[in-house]
Symmetry: C2
Subunit: 359 residues, 2 copies
């Protein structure tokens, strides 16, 4: 088992990464402070891993909330199911919530923990590649609003993160690809050697070789932990983690949550961000080809959905959280391995990227 630490000004917490660690109660039990535990999971994950998770907390009073599976349920209405479960089982402010599932379960459970009785503890047990390398680390929690993704939420750090790669054995292929989209992102934004490693090892990842998966997850989490440690509340550098996300969120919002997987939308968005970076003269046509090629090798989409217009992108992007006083800021690539958050582009250049990459 590998252990990484996320070191923040006011607290720090470990990420445990390994195989068969969801069967070892000695790892997570010390992170429960009270005697109550509420496991939150979904209908897909519960039949697979709920019994294992419950066994981890055999010395505690355990209740369970099972949510429907899907991004379309990541809203206030379904968040309320978690509060219902907590209150009807009389959980008090020493309770610990456990998120067992993918990013939707993690984000919702985290926000429930941030807001239940004004804040209780929680533990992340991500079971998808996407949540293992992205949403379970860093403390961003929240739900969607019909007018924008992740618009309601809080920064709330978990007590620990437990990543058992054995849970990836049951992951559908398109969700594996969706997770790889975020893995590739870390290479693009801040880790050229990792990007080069991914170019060589993508087929091992696609065939779920344990050693490759552990290396990819560990490197991704380590990059994320380093960025988050510098900027917990996203005042600056942390925004680079959103490469491709401003375009991608527009896609997700327009298509309806759950129609495009998050990593799929981010992949198409990354191509748009790369195209604009190329127009600015920051990356070359050959860089562009490498980016497209690695996304294709992970079976990710590189084209915008056919029903989206440039005007609709701009409308949806105008409420992005990176907009500051009316000025759209985007994460763009200075080179492969170095991203910046910038409003230093002409609107004409953005328009021409949108025009060329939509149909």
């Amino acid at each position: 088992m590998k252990t990484l630490n996320v070191d923040l000004p006011n607290n720090s917490y470990p990420i445990f990464i390994g195989q068969d660690i969801l069967n070892d109660s000695s790892i997570v039990a010390p992170f429960v402070k009270g005697r109550q535990v509420m496991i939150v999971t979904n209908e897909t994950v519960a039949p697979l891993y709920l019994d294992q998770a419950k066994a981890l907390f055999k010395d505690f009073s355990v209740d369970v909330v099972i949510l429907p599976d899907g991004e379309e349920y990541k809203n206030l209405e379904h968040l309320n199911l978690i509060y219902d479960g907590l209150l009807s089982n009389q959980h008090n402010r020493t309770t610990t919530l456990v998120a067992l599932g993918g990013g939707v379960v993690g984000d919702m459970t985290g926000f429930a923990a941030a807001s239940y009785q004004r804040g209780v503890d929680f533990i992340q047990m991500p079971t998808t590649l996407l949540s293992q390398v992205d949403s379970s680390v860093g403390g961003k929690t929240g739900v969607n609003h019909k007018l924008g993704k992740n618009m309601i939420g809080a920064f709330h750090q978990p007590n620990c993160v437990l990543i058992d790669i054995d849970t990836l054995s049951t992951l559908p292929d398109n969700e594996l690809s969706s997770g790889l989209s975020e893995v590739i992102k870390y290479g693009l934004i801040c880790d050229l050697p990792f990007f080069e490693w991914l170019e060589v090892n993508m087929s091992d990842l696609m065939s779920r070789k344990s050693e490759a998966l552990i290396k990819a997850i560990e490197t991704s989490c380590s990059n994320k932990a380093r960025v988050v440690a510098q900027d917990e509340k996203e005042g600056g550098i942390r925004a680079i983690l959103n490469l491709g996300h401003t375009f991608g969120h527009a896609i997700e919002t327009e298509q309806g949550y759950g129609v495009w997987l998050h990593g799929e939308a981010v992949a198409a968005g990354t191509v748009m961000a790369a195209d604009l970076s190329k127009k600015l003269g920051w990356i070359t046509e050959s860089d562009m080809q490498r980016i497209v090629s690695i996304l294709l090798s992970a079976k990710l989409p590189i084209e915008s959905p056919s029903n989206m217009t440039p005007a609709r992108y701009k409308e949806l992007m105008a409420v992005d959280k990176k907009v500051l006083d009316g000025k759209l800021r985007l994460v763009l690539l200075k080179s492969v391995g170095q991203a910046v958050t910038t409003s230093d582009f002409e609107i004409d250049q953005l328009d021409s990227t949108l025009a060329e990459l939509t149909r």
Copy 2:
């Protein structure tokens, strides 16, 4: 105008108290950092003070959300109206929310600010005595759940608090009394001289004499700021601010939100807390009489609602936020002017207080 400061470890903010200060934009405008302002108010307050509030922010882009008036609307469903307004007007994370109204508006606006885009700025402009002396100071924000009051929320401190006592001229009599319930609380829990001043000056407060109101608000806020500064997240001493509230919340939940005013429920709850304190030998029968007498002079109820049973109290109190690992803790009086949070009572003693004070 008086200025008090709330000094917290990570930030501090001023409370401005005076007459006719809702007409002076030089006071609050410096606390708006971006160019967008969202004023949140309700149907009762909007016709009275919204124009004045808008004029304060004439140099900014101002939008407005008007909520229905009442504790029964302090829930996730109506919180969503604030998010709707923010997103449909494309407010970004540099926006500032302004709470113009009573405690419900303040708590909901504060929680919207805590959670919109994971946290934006907000300003409190309380227009009821209750919110001026209590909820607008200290950073507790949130909404109710059908199974418990204030169960969903966050600690989120305002940039400043503006208290214009002229707004009290339009306050209904029962709401003035409700506010006085919290004013009396400060005397009881930590300020004997103030309690004695209130015994002498209650008639001036009931007839809304400006000088008395300013003194009562200033002393209340000052006591609250001092307690909050010691314990922002309510790990300890801050809990004494909840004298009468565990019983009171049970009353509010059982009657349905909005049927009993908050201060009315707290008054009846304070009598119950005082009775248990007397049974423990901490306060005398004569202290008890002073407490009942001052509540009556503020036209507050001293008896439990006729439809509540001891069993129902205990059921509702079991989910109180002060419960720790199954043990009920209550705020009780060591003396008039000194409260403690304690689980140091026999369940028989609580049972007999509940039996004697319910009908």
